[in-house]
């Protein structure tokens, strides 16, 4: 009992510190540097401590101090309650969804069974969807409660877009579920121990559609019509300042991480290195004794998993700074008239292949 409690607390603290403590501040810096790199600029490099700038790595700290001390402004005529809770509604789902994503296999450590996932739920992937779909309330409410036409338009666009792409994303997941026969993300991960069982080989179309829909769901360019700065100032968060403004950004960055983690788990072998199963890792580290081997395998699992996640974060950043924004009607047409039929055909073909096997 006590061991279980300690295990849970350690896992929660680990994921929390990785997400909130590492990814969300560092991604702001990465985004600036990546855009600078791609536009042939230097990027943020002025914040310094005793003359050291550390290629701009002090900027996250400077930003944090700045937003915490800024005035928290609520515009005239705004709905105070919803204006205040909207950023929380967008940030919370992004943090919660990581609870069901596995970041490693299952090991015996000091006679205690360790499962490297915070909550190994039977509904796994559906839990992610349940909470991801709530994020749209954050943007809708933010847009509506600000009492500003730009915000309002942004909120409406956001809700329509997120709803449309959620449908396609759900249909893509069905293909993955059919192939692996389970909703449990830890099992989906475990089944990809064999390299040729990786989701990318079994569901190549599913991967492309899922990744695109996930970016659209996160409202990042080329799908950022909801905040289109050339049309709507900043869309649904035009009227936000200080910490609340940053909460929308934190939500977006954490969703990038979650998307990377989901893509890794479902399509790119989760915590597995190609051609290396957990058992092979344990055999390889046999020299360190059973507990040492298990801990080393856990470390390798976690490093492998997060390296893959970081790769997909980089990919999303690159896409964001490469492609221009779609027009609103193009976004809708792409979602309903192209992705939805392709996703349905994908399910059909997957079913036929499974039956034929």
């Amino acid at each position: 009992m006590a061991a279980n409690l300690i295990e849970s607390i350690v896992k929660i603290l680990f994921i929390f510190s990785v997400n909130i403590g590492f990814f969300s501040p560092i991604l702001g810096w990465v985004e600036r540097k990546q855009s600078a790199l791609m536009q042939d600029r230097v990027g943020a490099n002025r914040a310094d401590v005793c003359g050291f700038t550390l290629i701009g790595l002090f900027h996250p700290i400077a930003d944090a101090i700045k937003v915490l001390t800024k005035e928290d402004f609520i515009p005239e005529g705004a709905d105070r309650l919803f204006h205040t809770i909207a950023p929380f509604i967008s940030l919370t789902p992004a943090i919660i969804t990581f609870a069901v994503i596995p970041f490693g296999g299952q090991y015996e450590l000091f006679g205690h069974h360790v499962n490297l996932i915070i909550a190994d739920l039977d509904v796994g992937i559906l839990f992610v969807f349940a909470f991801a779909s709530l994020a749209s309330f954050g943007s809708v409410l933010a847009g509506w409660s600000s009492n500003n036409n730009w915000s309002f338009l942004g909120g409406l666009r956001a809700s329509a877009q997120m709803l449309s792409y959620e449908v396609v994303m759900g249909l893509n997941i069905i293909g993955v579920i059919m192939v692996y026969g389970t909703l449990r993300l830890s099992q989906i991960g475990a089944m990809q121990a064999d390299f040729f069982n990786w989701g990318i080989f079994l569901q190549p179309v599913g991967f492309v559609l899922f990744f695109t829909c996930a970016i659209a769901e996160n409202k990042r360019a080329p799908f950022d019509v909801a905040e289109a700065e050339s049309e709507l100032v900043a869309g649904y968060f035009t009227e936000y300042s200080g910490m609340k403004f940053v909460m929308f950004w934190m939500g977006e960055f954490l969703e990038i991480v979650t998307i990377g983690a989901l893509v890794t788990t479902m399509f790119f072998g989760a915590w597995h290195l190609p051609f290396v199963s957990d058992q092979m890792l344990l055999n390889y580290f046999r020299f360190a004794g059973p507990n040492g081997a298990a801990s080393l395998a856990i470390v390798v699992n976690i490093i492998t998993f997060f390296s893959k996640v970081i790769f997909f974060i980089w990919l999303q950043m690159t896409i964001r700074w490469t492609l221009p924004r779609f027009r609103y009607d193009q976004v809708m047409r792409l979602g309903w008239k192209m992705f939805l039929p392709i996703a349905l055909i994908n399910i059909f073909i997957t079913g036929v292949v499974i039956l034929a096997k």
Partner: protein, 171 residues
Amino acid sequence: MQLLMFYIFGLGAVLSATLMVTNIKPVTAAMNLIMTMFFLAGIYVLLDAHLIAALQIIVYAGAIMVLFLFVILLLNVHEKEGETARRKVVIQFGSIAIVGSLFIIIAHLAVIYPSAVKVITDTAYEFGTTKAVGKMLFTDFLLPFEIASFLLLAAIVGAVILAKRRIDDSE
């Protein structure tokens, strides 16, 4: 612990539902309905029906309520629509009381005549898991399931026809 959770969820569900029907602001009412959905999902989890809980949040809170909110915002429903609701508070509470007491009566009847209700005691598969629900839907309850999906299909076709007629008229 479970009982405590049940009281928290139950009280929350009743409270937010009451706030939903008595509030005069449409958006606040919609948000309260979402809260109700959440508390109900919590109760489903307590009943070990994890799949139903997840679907409750995805379908109702995540999809249908976003559409509700979308419509409320798009049609710009004002508070004066809520005013009519305020005048009918007595009717609202009356209907809540009637439906509630009906529910209690049915629950009591089910206890008195246990044969009238089909209790699922089959423990061949784990209760409430996705597998169990799926197996049941596609074996024992296939016909109701298919009828329900047929109804939904009819609704979709109907919506398309209605929308299409309006587009044709406007041209």
